[in-house]
């Protein structure tokens, strides 16, 4: 795990949580959209909060795909769930929502879960007995990616 890879994981968590928060802020301006008036979703695109949220979520998706290219799914998901904590902190200190005791316990549990998984290897080698699908000629990098975690 290099510093750059940790930055990608931080990017997944930060872009995802702030992107969601911006969408949520924007949709409060737009109001309720009923299924029979889906065209108002187009109007929502003219909102700067929504646009900012979409840009950040594209960044989130790019970072998420990058992380999955060199780390296990069972590593990326818990490691980036620190985003839930970021959302709760934004809710508390930026949006001034009330954060209950149960939520603080939840934040503590998520943070310890992230600590657990981040201390381990990002990519586990394939078990000996399993037979992965035959490797394609044009993708030799798979062999070098596996196993050097």
């Amino acid at each position: 795990m290099t510093f750059r890879k940790y930055l990608v994981l931080v990017g997944v968590a930060v872009f995802g949580s702030i992107g969601d928060s911006l969408l949520s802020r924007g949709m409060k301006d737009i109001g309720t959209i009923s299924v029979s008036h889906l065209q108002s979703l187009i109007v929502a695109l003219a909102n700067w909060w929504i646009l900012g949220g979409i840009v950040l979520l594209i960044g989130f998706f790019a970072a998420y795909m990058t992380a999955l290219s060199w780390a296990d799914l069972t590593y990326v998901l818990p490691a980036t769930s620190i985003g839930y904590v970021i959302i709760a902190l934004i809710a508390k200190f930026v949006l001034h929502e009330q954060v209950t005791a149960a939520r603080w316990i939840g934040i503590l549990l998520i943070t310890s879960g992230v600590g657990f998984v981040a201390g381990g290897p990002a990519l586990t080698p394939l078990p000996e007995h399993s037979s992965p699908e035959p490797q394609r000629e044009d993708e030799p990098e798979l062999a070098s990616t596996r196993g050097n975690s």
Partner: protein, 114 residues
């Protein structure tokens, strides 16, 4: 919703493992060839389709259930489902450390709803 979401995550993970380390590819081939390679991968498109189904299933769920119940319950179940699916289909070695991490995060996500 949980099934579609887990399917999407597993397919995307599999696709990106086959594409290879994006950082290395970027240095060797340039960013545009990397993006083209990812977008052309058939499992990537399938993964996106599964994610879209999951999104609409979530909207449907939100129409009959309370958001404070549906959102954390589905997120939490998705974590656990992903762990099982990753072990079964991606052959990831899910050791005790990762089991504990997933359990902690899943419980934490539920608590955030209160």
């Amino acid at each position: 919703m949980v099934t579609a979401s887990v399917t999407g995550d597993v397919l995307l993970s599999k696709a990106m493992k086959q594409v290879g380390d994006v950082g290395d590819l970027w240095e060797n081939q340039g960013i545009f060839r990397v993006i083209a390679k990812v977008l052309r991968h058939p499992l990537f498109s399938l993964g996106i389709a599964a994610m879209a189904i999951a999104f609409f299933a979530l909207l449907f769920g939100l129409s009959w259930g309370d958001v404070s119940l549906i959102a954390p319950a589905s997120a939490s179940l998705t974590f656990v489902g992903n762990m099982i699916a990753a072990k079964l289909f991606l052959h990831e070695r899910v050791d005790r450390r990762r089991c504990i991490a997933v359990a902690f995060v899943a419980c934490g996500v539920v608590l955030l709803a209160f």
